[in-house]
Amino acid sequence: MELFLQLIVTGVMLGSIFALVSLGWVLIYKCSGVLNLAMGELTMIGGYVCLSFYQKLVTIMPVNYAFVLALFGTIIIGLILGLLTERVFLRKMIGEPVLAVIMVTVGLSFFFKGLVFMIWDTDTQVFLPRIFSIEPIVVGGITVGAVYLWSFIAAMILMVVFICFFKYTRWGLSMQACADDEMAALSLGVSAKFVYALAWAIAFMAAGVGGTLLGNINGLNYSVSSLGLLVLPAVVLGGLNSVPGAIVGGITIGILQNLAGGYGEAFVPGSKEVAPFVFMVIFLLFKPYGLWGWERIERV
């Protein structure tokens, strides 16, 4: 029972990072209908950018300040990269068939992966000196690593910020309008190009923070990008165009992965990585549009 609770709690914390990344994903999909398969690479880029900032800054200031500043830097770089990517590669693809747009994001993922390896090499890198203490926090018999706890808090804060942005600001409103009915939004003077650029910028920022947190937990290497791909089952679980769905899906996938790692690994080695995908296939057979996805009604 203790192990079970332990796994659940760690799963929720890990899942909150997935939720953060999948939030960025859902925003892109909602606003522009683009399926972004480069999400894993975006996460990786964010992690590495933060690492370089941190390594530069930690020489001149205390660890905590350096990390917060580096995180800020990552968010700003993410914003710029997001706007740039949208402008250079994806703006030309507006109105093209879905498959072509998906393949552009796949091309982007190759491009980014090569770029990251060219700049930062393939060895595993860790945040040194450590930002979070190794001493675990014990609450009612359940031990939680400080990294996990702070990741959870950071992910939650950022998620609330994004959701508030989406709900209560003028830009967020125009994003909602675009998601709801693109034609109507365009005719009312919402600039679709601006909305798409904004969606990509948010995705880059969210993925950047997600990558930083994941990098703090396990160290940064190629596997961060495959962790970023775990976002996709999370998104499908909640339904493609649902923001709360992304959060619930992310946390569910986190718990599922941890449970599979704790219990399943003994019977089926490697079940930790496969469990989310197996679960997703079975889930899709019964609920084809996820939990809160919009059911498309088609007419000939």
Partner: protein, 372 residues
């Protein structure tokens, strides 16, 4: 459809439906087959491996083209089915207790190819099942899941059979068809040419049958197809089966070229590569598969050659720039990504469309107005 040359017309439907409609086309096709046969003598042996890699990509991309280009079912996990084919064939050749006369007659490998096709086809149908209910993005996810599940299964379960960890070496002389032992580059090349010709002809004829027309109807509008009496579930699963079958054949062929099977030949990268190939070549065109495969393999080969020669130059003349050579490997991957992106932006119809335009220009030559 392409235009006929000026002054050529047909008087019966049978003539109009023929594969090779004019003498010029017949001559061209015979010339191309001769060229394929003579290729090892023309280009020399170091390019043979490039040629059979192209043929392997053609075989693998056939299934992807069938699913995406003709049936409208987007798939991003095709490497999984190729893996199933490769592993089935290798396992059958290595571990099944074949009677001695079959081994002597060289029947083992051909039988294993067919079995690999069926296994991969059935495995593919398993992951095609959700296609009955979902489409578009949700289907992409299930095919991606196929990729992860299959590869994990292979790595954790199959790779341990026989005490070996990751890869299975196939001892020389095991892979033979009849009396024909496949052990040298030109034999692999001829074998690949024969397989590709058989598969391309099979695919072309399938598309001219009732089944092919049903697939195209589903691609164009599945609801309309259903109202016209096409059983879309059956035909979608059939498409998955046939695509998996081609993938299985591709996988079974590739073990004869590599002489081993190992999971890293079936990474997700390859699934994406094959989708990239059909997009570069042209979606919904059989020639497109050939053009796309040739283009991608050639680009990789040329990049590799230039990278190698560049690193040689750097090593000799500027040793302090040596770090560039280690980075330059990743440059290849980046360049490939950019190539895909710019192809999609600037040549969205693929190479086969360009070929079609050139062909029509010559066909209609003195009066080359096509209404476009």
């Amino acid at each position: 459809m392409s235009y006929l040359p000026c002054g050529t017309y047909f008087e019966s439907y049978a003539d109009d439906q023929k594969w090779w409609r004019t003498n010029f086309i017949k001559g061209k096709m015979i010339f191309m087959v001769l060229l394929l046969v003579a290729a090892p003598y023309i280009v020399g042996s170091q390019w043979l491996s490039v040629f059979y890699t192209i043929n392997y990509y053609i075989l693998a991309a056939l299934g992807v083209q069938l699913l995406i280009g003709y049936c409208g079912q987007i798939t991003l996990g095709h490497a999984a089915f190729v893996a199933v084919g490769g592993y089935t064939s290798a396992m059958m050749v290595l571990f099944l207790p074949w009677p001695q006369f079959m081994v002597d007659a060289g029947l083992v490998y051909p039988i294993s190819i067919v079995c690999a096709g069926f296994t991969a086809g059935l495995w593919s149908v398993l992951f095609g099942l959700p296609s009955a209910r979902v489409k578009g993005f949700y289907l992409i996810m299930t095919t991606m899941a196929a990729q992860w599940i299959t590869l994990r299964l292979v790595i954790t379960q199959l790779s341990k059979i026989g005490g070996r960890e990751q890869s299975f070496p196939l001892p020389p002389g095991v892979i033979k068809i009849g009396p024909w032992v496949i052990d040298s580059d030109d034999k692999i090349y001829y074998f690949s040419v024969i397989l590709v010709l058989i598969c391309l002809i099979a695919m072309g004829n399938l598309l001219r049958s009732k089944m092919g027309r049903a697939w195209i109807a589903i691609r164009d509008n599945d609801i309309a197809a259903e109202t016209m009496g096409v059983n879309i579930v059956v035909y979608k699963l059939l498409a998955f089966f046939v695509a998996g079958f081609f993938a299985g054949i591709a996988g079974a062929f590739w073990i004869s070229a590599l002489f081993f099977v190992s999971p890293e030949n079936y990474e997700w990268f390859y699934s994406l590569l094959w989708v990239g190939i059909i997009l570069i070549g042209g979606v919904g065109s059989i020639q497109g598969i050939v053009f796309g495969s040739a283009f991608v393999v050639m680009v990789f080969k040329l990049l590799e050659m230039s990278v190698l020669s560049l690193s040689d130059v750097l090593m000799v003349s500027y040793p302090e720039w040596g770090w560039v050579t280690t980075k330059i490997i990743f440059f290849k991957e980046s360049a490939f990504g950019l190539a895909i992106i710019f192809f999609l932006i600037y040549e969205p119809n693929g190479l086969s469309y360009r070929y079609w335009q050139i062909k029509n220009y010559f066909n209609l030559w003195p009066f080359s107005y096509t209404g476009k």
